[in-house]
């Protein structure tokens, strides 16, 4: 029952900065996901909350206490590791009860809590087994069970699903989500997989090089990325990014992509771009729509392009072609064969185009 608060947290390894001046409040019962490429500082942040990594600067609060100087054991948090870190010399039952035994909880109470956890996770038949006799998914469950049993103030997950195969990962993802709803506790979850982040999180923090790039709900970070990095990191396939020059013809602004194509700019955005020479355009692949009968209106822009490659995926077909110097992906929700070299007509709703400053890469 506690919120976790990070105040100006910095972590340095010698001269290398792993986390820079991080501020964050995680309210009780929130499912917070830290996501970013490897080396972005997300795991370091988690390990600082756990107390496994010393804090170079700043303060961490759990509840209303500063925990900077506290040992991991006194922070009342549980951590689930990427490789599960089950105790190989103990049975499932002993693994689950270990933390309580250390805390000198009564045997009866230990039994009760272990039984509860075993039931929640469906481990009834495996109680007497050793970790080496379990499958990957089962080990994952035991690792979570070990965290549950302690009734911690916060759960910390460090890439818990990355050692599982794709199918199992999807399944465990759902289970973690359900578990959170059942247990009603704070979860801080680290992953490099943006799909995991999107599906699990109440709030996502996208990190890069020790800095927070954006904080927001999954929908927010998807629909309103604050910069090019977030735009390309969240969403699959990544958002198409195109460099363009801004030109003015007869009092109208256009984005010149190459010698043939000029995308008109919506009038509502003139103020944002009128002083600029260059721009970065971001368009999600589902917003580049292959169209047979184009819509008319000022917010639509149509163009024809030759297809370089098509990849049918069943529900959709991904079409690859060049726009300016960049390779672009479009999604066609119409299962038909597309030949290489075929010329298709595409339509873009200009309201769905993201604009980024060409220098700062920040959203306009």
């Amino acid at each position: 029952m506690a919120e976790v608060k990070l105040k100006n947290i910095t972590k340095k390894y010698g001269d290398v900065v792993a986390v820079q001046n991080m501020n964050l409040t995680i309210p009780h019962n929130e499912f917070l996901v830290l996501v970013g490429p490897s080396g972005c500082g997300k795991s370091t942040t988690l390990r600082m909350i756990a107390g496994l990594e010393e804090i170079t600067g700043g303060e961490i609060f759990i509840g209303d206490q500063i925990v900077n100087e506290k040992d991991p054991k006194d922070r009342n948090v549980s951590m689930v590791f990427q490789n599960y870190a089950l105790y190989p010399h103990m049975t499932v039952e002993e693994n689950l009860g270990f933390s309580l035994k250390i805390a000198k909880v009564e045997t009866k109470e230990i039994e009760k809590r272990v039984t509860d956890a075993v039931q929640i996770l469906g481990l009834q038949d495996l109680k007497k087994r050793k970790p080496s006799q379990l499958s990957g998914g089962q080990r994952q469950r035991v690792a979570m069970g070990r965290a549950i049993v302690r009734r911690p103030d916060a759960f910390l997950f460090d890439e818990p699903l990355s050692n599982l195969d794709a199918k199992l990962r999807t399944q465990m993802r759902t289970e973690i989500k359900k578990l959170h709803q059942k247990l009603q506790t704070t979860i801080v979850y680290v992953t490099h997989d943006q799909v995991e982040a999107m599906t699990l999180a109440d709030r996502i923090i996208i990190m890069k090089d020790g800095y927070i790039e954006q904080i927001g709900s999954p929908i927010e970070v998807f629909s309103k990325p604050t910069n090019v990095f977030v735009a390309t990191f969240i969403g699959s396939p990544p958002m198409n990014i195109i460099d363009a020059d801004i030109i003015k013809i007869e009092n109208k602004f256009y984005f010149k992509i190459d010698n043939e194509l000029m995308m008109p700019c919506l009038e509502s955005k003139y103020d944002l771009i009128k002083d600029k020479k260059k721009i970065i355009i971001g368009i999600r692949s589902e917003d580049i729509v292959p169209q047979i009968s184009p819509n008319y209106g000022s917010e639509f822009w149509n163009f024809n392009k030759k297809i370089d490659l098509s990849e049918p995926l069943g529900t959709e077909t991904q079409l690859f072609f060049k726009l300016g110097a960049k390779e672009i992906i479009s999604r066609m929700y119409n299962p038909r064969a597309v030949n290489v070299g075929e010329k298709l007509s595409f339509e873009i709703n200009l309201n769905k185009v993201h604009l980024f400053d060409s220098i700062s890469q920040k959203a306009l």
Binding site: A50, G51, L52, D71, P72, K73, R75, V77, S78, M79, F81, N83, A85, Y87, P88, H89, F98, S99, I102, A103, R146, R150, L156
Partner: protein, 279 residues
């Protein structure tokens, strides 16, 4: 052609086995033969009669003691066991520190420890003899134990460092978030996991003490503290050797060593190589 290759291959293996085993077997056989038979010319390959005379002599079952081997054996057992327990305890602490912590001069300290171990026993025995005589622990089990602890510590560190590093760091970390202190995490998780390896290190230390000669031959002076390797020399006079007796005491020395080796051989190799390979 393939057949020839195969046969010569197995002949080579056989030759190897003979070279390794024959000397020991010959000693073993001789220990149960009377001296005149050993000395007979031409050689008497197959013993005419077996005798345990040398052993009854050693262990004074007939009330007559030629060489107080039983006392030597007890000295050896006590000195080797006690020094092993101490060496393993403090060596393990050191190994843990090298495996789990980063600190200034880590590699240099490690190297210095190993180099200290490289000092030849005989070169060390001169000053040790004088110093131990001065502080009055010459010819005591305590003195020998002290020396063997120091001799065994560096190698124990080398081995246990390897074993602790084989255990993922997360084991200790998860135990600590599970509510353990570092010491509890070590005691409940890391020590049980490294157990077999530490056992191997212990047996290695035991054997080094059990077999050591150069230092013990100087520090121990009388039956009060002499160990088996020193006691063995009782059978060796300037000009004559009691061959059967010496073979018998050799058997007493080697049988425990072989049994212990047999128990730990698997872990021993993994410990030696792991510590060395994974820097």
């Amino acid at each position: 052609m393939k057949q020839v290759k195969k046969i010569s291959f197995w002949l080579l293996v056989l030759l190897l086995l003979i070279l390794i085993c024959l000397p020991g077997i010959w000693i073993f056989i001789s220990a149960f033969r009377p001296n005149p038979e050993i000395l007979s010319k031409p050689a008497n390959w197959i013993p005419d009669r077996w005798t345990i005379y040398q052993f009854t002599q050693m262990f004074s079952i007939n009330g007559y003691v030629s060489v107080p081997a039983f006392k030597y054996l007890m000295n050896s057992v006590i000195i080797s066991s006690v020094s092993t327990v101490i060496a393993i305890t403090i060596g393990m602490m050191g190994g843990y520190a090298f495996a789990r912590f980063n600190f200034k001069g880590k590699n240099k300290i490690f190297l210095s420890l190993m180099l200290a171990r490289a000092v030849p026993g005989i070169s060390l025995s001169l000053p040790l003899f004088i110093l131990f005589a001065k502080i009055g622990i010459i010819n005591t089990s305590f003195g020998v134990i002290l020396v063997y602890v120091a001799m065994n510590v560096p190698f124990t560190i080398w081995l246990t460092d390897g074993f602790f590093r084989q255990i993922p760091k997360e084991m200790s970390e998860v135990a600590r978030t599970d509510g353990c202190t570092r010491l509890q995490a070590f005691w409940n998780v890391e020590l049980p996991l490294a157990g077999p390896g530490i056992g191997a290190a212990a047996i290695f230390a035991f054997l080094l003490s059990w077999n050591e000669y150069a230092l013990a031959s100087i520090i121990t002076r009388t039956v009060h503290s002499k160990t088996l390797p020193i006691g063995m020399m009782d059978y060796l006079d300037e000009f004559t050797i009691n061959w059967a007796g010496m073979c018998a005491i050799a058997v007493v020395m080697i049988v425990p060593a072989l049994i212990l080796t047999f128990i730990v051989q698997k872990h021993l190799v993994s410990g030696l190589t792991f510590g060395g390979v994974k820097g």
